[in-house]
Amino acid sequence: RQQAKRTYIVQMDKSHKPASSDDHLNWYDSSLKFVSDSADMFYTYDNVISGFSTRLTEEEAQLLEKQPGVLSVLPEIRYELH
């Protein structure tokens, strides 16, 4: 069944990056591809967090959260002007 996708912010723990992975972006991408063939990273972050933004189904997000080196998978929050 096709599930609705929503945006998530994925925090990665770089200390878990496998030695076999040349750079952290490849590692992020392979972690993401493990749970979804179609998802892509539309932002990567290095200063504020180590991680990326992507769109996933809830099931994919739960699966990604269990992957080694994944610190958290946070649903995106919408903010408003004050």
Binding site: T7, V48, R55, S72, E80, L81
Partner: protein
């Protein structure tokens, strides 16, 4: 802004402020709806080359090119991926896929923080004067992260990521969302990274007041800003057929009503809808409204939109009445027809008149801008209030600043009301919110940064907080417009910002990344949660006792337990520790504690601290011994260190649960 510089003492004490060339080394990054670069507030006359350390750029997009930036507006970028992934591609007929601000909010906030001085500014002649930002020569960098559909967390995170890379010194965010644990709050996490990079992060407290516990942006590394009024008013008078005359406010600048009285009707009685009193779109029956003044209740839709609804139905004017929850707070708007916004009490009197007369009549006349209104400041009803819902041991908001009826720069793409039908365009607009108070503090933080470039974000925040005032010159506590009664630290935090005093605070409560990590340990955060917030590998020492009371915050919040089933005489004792850093000349400071509650004993040890050199640190403890009081009880005290020249003040808030 045209009044706040004088109101804050910026206009009269230039001598003690940092030189403009030092201020021009400071970059304020504003995450908002973008920028209208043609605003005169971005005139770069007299500014030297951009700081050598600056790595930002002027991102080209629709209606925005590299020449849109100059030596004032030194950076402009936009972040829309998150928005577009959720909402679909931006409709470029409606909003530009560029840093351009077609909403107005971002231009208002950025010019409030750091706009250049512009003579003869006003909105339809209201609030006229020279408009300037708080740090007139500071540089501005805009990060457009807010779009018609809102501000998305992924875009905000990307904006702060870039702002850190670009080299901003102060970040200003007049936005908020739902409250979350810090490890799940993307803005709190990003603000932590910015703070760890030496950036002061100032955020709006929210407009959820006067409800208690309504705050946003409460992490202790954030500078959380509530809103107060200025000493300025925009009167608009209501004259009734019974001879009574009442004062309200308005920024209507068009053709006035004649002096002749015209029929007046309550929206509820001119509608087939149960919510006709709110004058929602389509709710008024033209046949019952045409040629009349309509009284509408505040709430449910935008204030200015109610005027448009009345106008569309053929009404001649509007009286906008506060309901009980808004109290007597008068927020002025650039209405599209003659309007007077009145407080709850006057609104009830006018409603009583309408109901008592067979043919009630009224007229509205616009007055001119008044200054010197007292008391001022008063806490705005809309300003969000404590206690802190996430960590009650940290008092929030941190302070208040001007946020009611603030004039600042505006977009050329939207009307002052923001209404689509309103075709008026203005260079300056007058609006209200904690969105407006936040950039005031961002600009003031930039001034302190310029004067003391080596100070940490926590030290700058402490300087702003410990020098804030909570009483008027007559000694009475700052009022809360929602109640008409004295306000409390849950409303104003440390008090109203006083930039002149903040430039010379004497002592500061400093904090490092390690202190923030200890704070997270005191919250029993796991190593994973700490890494989520800080990016650092850290395991709290299981043999060490971490206490929220020992976190070096410039204010005190003391949650106390009500002893269930116990009688009088049961008391609890809690001990807080603080460390002060001398940022002035060698001096001896003595402590003074004032409290409104005798059933809490407050003991400060030592009572005197001597500092012999700059940046010397001294620690003291405060012991609170409190009787058990009923759950829900709150009380307040104040702790001050003084060397006779400086007063380093901290509010104390007690709450029993």
């Amino acid at each position: 802004t045209t009044r706040t510089p004088e109101f804050l003492g910026l206009g009269t004490s230039e001598a003690i402020f940092p030189a403009s060339d030092k201020v021009s080394e400071v970059v304020i990054g504003v995450l908002d709806t973008g920028v209208w670069p043609e605003s005169k507030s971005f005139d770069d006359t007299g500014l030297g080359p951009v700081p050598a350390s600056w790595k930002g750029e002027c991102q080209v997009g629709k209606n925005f090119n590299s020449s849109s930036c100059n030596r004032k507006l030194i950076g402009a970028r936009f972040f829309s991926e998150g928005y577009e992934r959720s909402f679909g591609p931006i409709d470029e007929n409606v909003e530009s896929r560029s840093p351009r601000d077609e909403e107005g909010h971002g231009t208002h906030t950025s010019t409030t923080a750091a706009g250049s001085a512009v003579a003869d500014a006003s909105l339809f002649g209201f609030a006229s004067g020279t408009a300037r930002g708080m740090a007139t020569t500071a540089r501005v960098a805009i990060y457009k992260v807010c779009w018609l559909g809102g501000c998305f967390g992924t875009d905000i995170l990307a904006g702060i990521e870039q702002a850190i890379k670009d080299g901003v010194n102060v970040l200003s965010l007049s936005i908020g969302g739902s409250l979350n644990d810090y490890s799940k709050d993307t803005v709190a996490i990003a603000a932590f990274a910015a703070t760890a990079n030496g950036i002061v992060v100032s955020l709006s407290a929210g407009n959820g007041g006067p409800s208690s516990g309504s705050l946003a942006n409460v992490a202790p590394w954030m500078l959380t800003v509530g809103a107060g009024t200025l000493d300025r008013d925009f009167p608009a008078y209501v004259s009734l057929g019974n001879g009574q005359k009442y004062k309200g406010v308005s920024l209507y600048g068009g053709k006035p009503l004649s002096d002749e009285l015209v029929p007046i009707v309550y929206g509820r009685n001119a509608s087939n809808s149960t919510s006709g009193n709110l004058c929602l779109p389509g709710s008024l029956v033209p046949g019952k409204v045409a040629g009349k003044i309509v009284l509408c209740d505040r709430g449910g839709n935008a204030r200015a939109q109610k005027g448009q609804v009345v106008k569309d139905a053929g009404g001649l004017g509007m009286i906008l009445s506060n309901t009980e929850s808004y109290g007597e707070e008068l927020v002025a708007d650039a209405h599209v027809l003659p309007t007077s916004t009145v407080g709850h009490k006057i609104g009830d009197l006018i409603k009583a008149y309408i109901h008592s007369e067979a043919n009630p009549t009224a007229t509205i006349s616009q007055g001119s801008t008044q200054i010197g209104i007292q008391p001022s400041p008063v806490v705005a009803a809309f300003s969000s209030r404590g206690p802190n819902p996430i960590t009650p041991e940290i008092l929030k908001p941190d302070l208040i600043a001007p946020g009611v009826n603030i004039l600042a720069g505006w977009t050329g793409a939207a009307a002052p009301t923001g209404l689509d039908n309103d075709k008026r365009r203005v260079s300056f607009n007058i609006i209200s919110g904690t969105s407006m108070s936040c950039p005031h503090v961002s600009g003031l933080a930039a001034l302190i940064k310029a004067a003391q470039p080596e100070w940490s974000p926590a030290a700058i925040k402490s300087a702003l907080m410990t020098t804030a005032y909570s009483t008027y010159k007559n000694g009475k506590t700052i009022e809360d417009v929602a109640t008409g009664s004295p306000s409390t630290p849950f409303d104003y935090g440390a008090g109203h910002v006083d930039p002149v005093a903040a430039l010379d605070p004497g002592l500061v409560y400093d904090a490092t990344v390690e202190d923030y990590i200890s704070f997270l340990c005191a919250l029993n955060y796991s190593a994973e949660q700490i890494k989520s917030v800080t990016k650092k590998d850290y395991t709290c020492d299981s043999t060490k006792t971490y206490s929220l009371g020992d976190f070096n915050y410039p204010s005190f919040a003391v949650p106390l337990q009500t002893a269930l089933g116990s009688g009088a005489g049961v008391s609890s004792t809690v001990r807080y520790t603080r460390t002060l850093t001398n940022v002035g000349a060698p001096a001896t400071y003595k402590v003074k504690v004032s409290s409104e509650i005798s059933s809490v004993k407050i003991l400060v040890q030592p009572e005197s601290l001597s500092f012999n050199e700059a940046y010397e640190k001294k620690t003291y403890t405060v012991t609170f011994t409190a009787a058990s009081l009923p759950s829900g009880t709150t009380s307040f005290a104040r702790l001050e260190w003084s060397d006779g020249k400086h007063i380093v003040g901290s509010p104390i808030a007690f709450s029993w649960t």
